[in-house]
């Protein structure tokens, strides 16, 4: 395969992983406790949190999927991006899940299960989180690696080498600096992504012209390619279980995905978290919108050649993912000028790494503090847990690599990821939602939800083929999710239990301890220096200087 990569592009491309390793070594000395390794000591301000969320959410998997949607469904696909942004905005504005979890102060979802329900629920929930995470992220390795090879213009046989190299870089900086290095790398990636993708879009519009793009889409895809409400538009053609399941999956991705909760949990306080999350909805919109537009541009660009036109249009009709992925990568390789190509390739490598790094931090934290520590006889202290987490990072990466190389690339990417996500969401969503918002939820109910969630495996085509079934996967996923909620409610009513954590306040909707007696500051004299404060109900209150109130505690008080 001939490559348009020049020395300048290679320099830009290789600089990014090298800088990431340096960042890992530099941030190593800032990580001493588990809170530093997993949550950067809860020191993250809104703008850094937002940059990190945008960088990580615009991962390579989302980029490939969105570009493919743009190529096959043209502008109608924008409806999915708009839906994604609106769902995130609604959840952020409502303060659902992430806000109470930040207030409680748990590091991981498994820790929440352990404190809210029982040690066993924490272990099972943690294992479910890690197992489904490894299985879904593993698929990225081959698909993402293949996209990168096409983008750079390397031969296909180099795929295992490229995957191992990139995974090695991720393991190095993640195990050294934990989430601190991930935040710093995310910032670099955010700059590269925004600059690289903006330049790509501007160059595309300038070269192909806006009107020409629309006319070509109209000619190739018909009105269904422009109007998402048109009967020919493939997205809304099947408005029903598929669309409903997509909305449910978007809700799940904004509420129970551990890598996102690490970023919201790392913010310095609740107001900072809310601000970060609200603005992140724009990131959830743009993470799909920009790749979709690049997919559309690749459709317009590549159909100029009659030999390619038939293949691209055929791929669009049957939604062939290999051809769609190849088309976007080929477009970027052929179209972008020297320098910009290297910049975009570096951003794509960053997107590849960001899909892995925060997951590795989350999984290692869950396994060390929520699975191994509760099961060990002598509970390890904080430093030992950090050491365990650091050692677990390469181990979990190896598991991901083995599964990623074993699974055939021809497997339907979207179907596979949604199937694995369905198993996880069907277990985690009832446990988290009912655990937070229903005080009668019990450990036995959570076990029941986890058990029912495995029914989502029936949505997989190979499983259906083995059992001789032909059910629509979205219908299966929706039924199993509803069944898991119902099972948790019924079993909780039959087998009630108190929260495992003694400090857990079952009467508070978020389990927070009772609010401290309210302090009132009363001005008793015109002299500004003569200020007295007293505690309501106390007999002899000691005078105290006025203090800056904690905004999180303030919100909890009536």
């Amino acid at each position: 395969m001939d490559s348009r990569f020049t020395l300048l592009d290679w320099c830009i491309l290789s600089a990014f992983p090298a800088v990431s390793i340096v960042v890992g070594f530099l941030s190593r000395r800032y990580v001493g406790q588990m809170d530093d390794f997993v949550l950067a000591g809860r020191t993250i301000r809104p703008r850094l949190g937002l940059a990190s969320i945008i960088a990580s959410e615009m991962g390579l998997m989302v980029f490939i999927f969105s570009a493919q949607q743009g190529l096959t469904r043209a502008m109608s696909a924008f409806a999915i991006a708009v839906l994604s942004g609106l769902v995130c905005l609604a959840i952020a504005a409502g303060g659902v899940v992430a806000q109470p979890l930040r207030r409680i102060g748990v590091r991981t979802l498994a820790e929440f299960y352990r404190r809210r329900f029982s040690r066993g629920v924490g272990v099972i929930g943690g294992l479910l989180l890690v197992a489904t995470g490894v299985l879904s992220v593993a698929l990225l390795l081959k698909n993402g690696g293949s996209f990168l090879l096409n983008l750079i213009g390397l031969e296909e046989h180099r795929l295992p080498t490229v995957i191992c190299l990139l995974l090695g870089v991720v393991v190095l900086y993640t195990s050294l600096g934990g989430i601190v290095s991930v935040f710093m790398k995310d910032y670099l990636q955010f700059v590269l992504l925004t600059v690289g993708l903006m330049l790509t879009m501007l160059l595309s519009v300038q070269t192909m012209e806006w009107d020409n793009i629309f006319q070509t889409i109209d000619y190739l895809r018909g009105r269904g390619g422009v109007n998402p409400l048109h009967p020919e538009a493939t997205f809304f053609q099947r408005l029903g279980p598929e669309t409903l399941w997509l909305v449910v999956a978007l809700v799940g991705s904004c509420t129970v995905v551990q890598s996102l909760l690490l970023r919201t949990g790392a913010t310095e306080n609740v107001p900072a978290m809310r601000k970060t999350f609200k603005w992140a909805s724009l990131g959830f919109l743009m993470r799909m919108l920009i790749p979709m537009f690049i997919g559309i541009c690749s459709l317009v660009y590549l159909t100029q050649w009659p030999s390619l036109k038939a293949a691209i249009l055929w791929a669009g009709r049957v939604e062939d993912q290999d051809v769609a992925r190849l088309a976007t990568a080929t477009f970027l390789n052929r179209f972008l000028p020297v320098g910009v190509l290297g910049l975009v390739a570096a951003a794509m490598i960053g997107a590849f790494m960001s899909a892995l790094d925060s997951c590795l931090v989350a999984w290692s934290a869950v396994v060390s503090q929520d699975v191994l520590a509760p099961l060990s006889r002598r509970r390890p202290d904080d430093r030992q847990q950090v050491m365990m987490a650091r050692l677990l990072v390469p181990l979990l990466a190896l598991l991901t690599l083995i599964w990623g190389l074993a699974i055939p690339r021809t497997y339907d990417l979207w179907h596979y990821v949604m199937g694995i996500a369905a198993v996880y969401f069907a277990g985690a969503m009832p446990a988290v939602f009912l655990g937070l918002y229903w005080k009668r939820a019990s450990a036995a109910g959570a076990y029941a939800a986890f058990f029912v969630s495995f029914g989502s495996l029936l949505g997989f085509k190979p499983v259906q083929a083995a059992l001789g079934l032909a059910w629509r996967p979205a219908v299966v996923h929706l039924i199993i999710l509803a069944g898991a909620f119902a099972a948790m409610v019924v079993v909780s009513l039959i087998r009630p239990s108190r929260p495992a954590d003694e400090d857990w306040n079952a009467d508070h909707p978020f389990g927070l301890p009772p609010a401290a007696p309210r302090r009132l500051r009363v001005e008793v004299a015109p002299d500004p220096l003569h200020t007295a404060s007293f505690t309501q109900g106390a007999t002899s209150p000691p005078p105290q200087p006025p203090q800056e109130a904690d905004p999180a505690a303030q919100e909890d008080q009536p």
Binding site: A40, R47, L48, F78, M184, F190, F214, R223, V226
Partner: protein
């Protein structure tokens, strides 16, 4: 058809402008936030 063409044109242009301005603000602000994060972490270590 013309309506949808105009809608996507202005939606894309507006969205990109908004995203670009936020990206610039976040880009510069996040750099300062990294500095603050490292200072706080250094303080915690001591």
């Amino acid at each position: 058809m013309k309506l949808w063409l105009n809608f996507w044109y202005w939606a894309m242009a507006g969205g990109l402008f908004l995203f670009a301005s936020i990206a610039v603000t976040v880009g510069f602000g996040a750099f300062r936030d990294i500095h603050a994060m490292l200072q706080k972490l250094r303080g915690r270590r001591r």
